[in-house]
């Protein structure tokens, strides 16, 4: 019996232990390594950084760490501009996503109940198809002489090709397109539960539809608005593929900067410092998001 309870404890202990060890090894340790390398000096070598690490020499290890890379980040205003521009692009995209996503989510919530699960499936389906392919599809549409220009010239709306590809506008279109499901689904989840009688009451009491939208629908949809916005804003800040394929060379984004520090300049310590900077930018929205999600979980019956 003792033996049996021992094996029982052993096997039950394994359930948390295996994923715990895996994440510790492949998530926590790599993260600490990035933190460490961001504090070390670059070297022209393979690997291209001085591995300031030896258990026997703790003081030497600690003294070799410095904030040089972070000083560089503050001195060179490229990183400052890239940070600002990432946050700005992500914020504008999020607002555009709200404007595009809200009417869709609202329409879905008002559709007959038997069609709703099909509509949800239709919103999710593009998410399953490759992200890269969906961005690639836009190159053919947006490029000069591309399908959009052809279509607009065909109906006589414009006479000259329009430049969209390789501008910031193409990045906005790409982000809105790729992240739309992340905005629509949380919005739909809150709008679907909304009590219609409130709107009827407001209309009966003489409110205009526009006014009841702002004073009733929007406040009630706020949890969905916040969740959807953060769900789009957080990944958009660190986006690499969209600005790289659709944006021009002047479209600065921090994720793209990290990529080029790493692949083109081969400055691994600086790339690590940029990675830490990117995480610092995202700490606040992520903490807010966790808070919102925790509250939403509590509200659930």
């Amino acid at each position: 019996m003792i033996e049996r309870s021992f094996t029982k404890r052993l096997t039950s202990g394994l359930v948390p232990a295996v994923p715990y060890l895996w994440l510790g090894l492949f998530f926590l340790v790599p993260f600490l390594i990035v933190l460490k390398i961001s504090l070390s000096d670059p070297a022209i070598a393979q690997p291209p950084y001085k591995p300031v690490f030896a258990w026997s020499d703790i003081t030497g290890f600690l003294s070799a760490l410095d904030l040089e890379n972070f000083e560089l980040l503050t001195q060179d205003d490229l990183y400052f501009r890239a940070t600002l521009s990432s946050v700005r692009i992500a914020a504008i995209s999020t607002i555009l996503l709200l404007f595009v996503g809200f009417p869709i989510a609202y329409g879905m919530a008002r559709a007959p109940e038997r069609h709703r699960s099909l509509l949800v499936a239709l919103v999710i389906l593009p998410f399953w198809t490759s992200f890269l392919i969906r961005i690639y599809a836009w190159i053919a549409i947006l490029k000069p002489e591309g399908l959009l220009t052809q279509a607009l010239m065909g109906i006589g709306l414009i006479s000259d090709p329009i430049e969209i590809l390789n501008t910031e506008w193409a990045v906005y279109i790409g982000i809105v397109y790729a992240y739309l499901p992340f905005m629509v689904l949380p919005l739909y989840a809150t709008l679907e539960k909304m009590d219609d009688t409130l709107l009827e009451a407001a209309l009966d009491l003489g409110s205009t539809p526009w006014r009841s939208f702002w004073t009733i629908t929007v406040p009630l949809a706020m949890p969905g608005i916040i969740a959807g916005s953060l769900l789009c804003f957080i990944p958009a800040v660190g986006e690499f593929v969209i600005p790289d394929l659709l944006g021009g060379s002047e479209t600065l984004m921090i994720g793209r900067q990290l990529w080029s520090e790493f692949f083109s300049n081969r400055d691994w310590p600086l790339a690590s410092a940029v990675a830490i900077l990117l995480l610092i930018i995202l700490v606040v929205p992520i903490v807010i998001y966790r808070d919102v999600e925790a509250r939403r979980m509590e509200m659930r019956p």
Binding site: T11, V15, L23, S130, I139
Partner: protein
């Protein structure tokens, strides 16, 4: 009262879905274009599909990607399910807060940061970059998504069934395999499919952790796209879209049937 769709609702739905589907549709249509110029229609042709299957490098990349996705999604499904069980069935264990953090962090962490940190880790432990490093990286990233999917199911499920089995003398392991596992199986399948798709699709993490001989399809597509549009990529994309659509429809049908069956059994 029944909700009514106004003209505005219908218009926004039609325009919204047109926005979501038109680019994909155009991509598919132009994969059957006879012209080498991707945006100029030159008549119907399937020549790019032929060219695709003769493109050795692309075929090889597809094979590598498929192997990585199958392997990493399988390991991630096991690890993710264990993690979900740990979070829902083990109450407080030492270091639970750290564990929860580690499960959620990879999902909100920018891909460039995940890719870079794993690469630096593999360099530090002197592991050659290639097939295995991408597999390990994808397993780590996707297991967290599996955890969330399975955890959601475990939280809504009727614990009394497990308790009944235990009260009747079934040991924990047997209870798990004969009661818990069948009940959470659909969510495990969904988690596996999610992990598989994420791995199939990943460019950023794979680019950081790739090595000689381990060029995945997204890496290959990305490098070709940077050189310009190519109708072969349209053809490859169309095949991928077709496979994914088929997979999603099948998964939906299977889950619908299992829901119907469990409803029938309940009555």
């Amino acid at each position: 009262m029944t909700r009514r769709l106004s003209i505005f609702n219908v218009t926004s739905l039609v325009m919204g879905f047109a926005f979501l589907y038109l680019p994909i549709l155009l991509l598919v249509v132009y994969s059957f274009n006879a012209s080498r110029l991707v945006t100029v229609w030159g008549g119907f042709s399937t020549q790019w599909y032929g060219a695709l299957f003769r493109n050795q490098a692309l075929m090889e990349a597809a094979w590598v990607t498929l192997r990585i996705a199958l392997l990493s999604a399988s390991i991630a499904t096991v690890l993710g399910t264990l993690a979900a069980l740990a979070l829902t069935r083990y109450g407080r264990f030492p270091g639970r807060t750290l564990f929860t953090g580690m499960v959620y962090a990879p999902m909100v962490m920018p891909e460039v940061v995940t890719g870079l940190s794993l690469l630096l880790f593999f360099v530090a432990v002197d592991l050659d970059r290639g097939f295995w490093t991408i597999t390990l990286a994808h397993t780590t990233l996707t297991m967290c998504f599996v955890t969330v999917v399975v955890q959601a199911r475990l939280m809504t499920f009727d614990r009394s069934l497990e308790e009944a089995a235990m009260d009747l003398g079934a040991p924990p392991l047997r209870t798990f395999f004969s009661v818990t596992l069948p009940l959470i199986a659909p969510s495990i399948v969904a988690g596996f499919l999610l992990a598989f798709t994420l791995s199939l699709d990943d460019l950023v993490v794979a680019s950081f952790n790739t090595g000689p001989g381990a060029t995945t399809l997204p890496i290959k597509i990305y490098s070709q796209v940077r050189l310009g549009l190519s109708p072969e990529i349209n053809a490859a994309s169309t095949i991928l879209i077709g496979l994914v659509t088929l997979g999603v429809i099948l998964a939906t049908l299977i889950s619908k049937r299992s829901v119907l069956r469990s409803r029938r059994n309940a009555h």
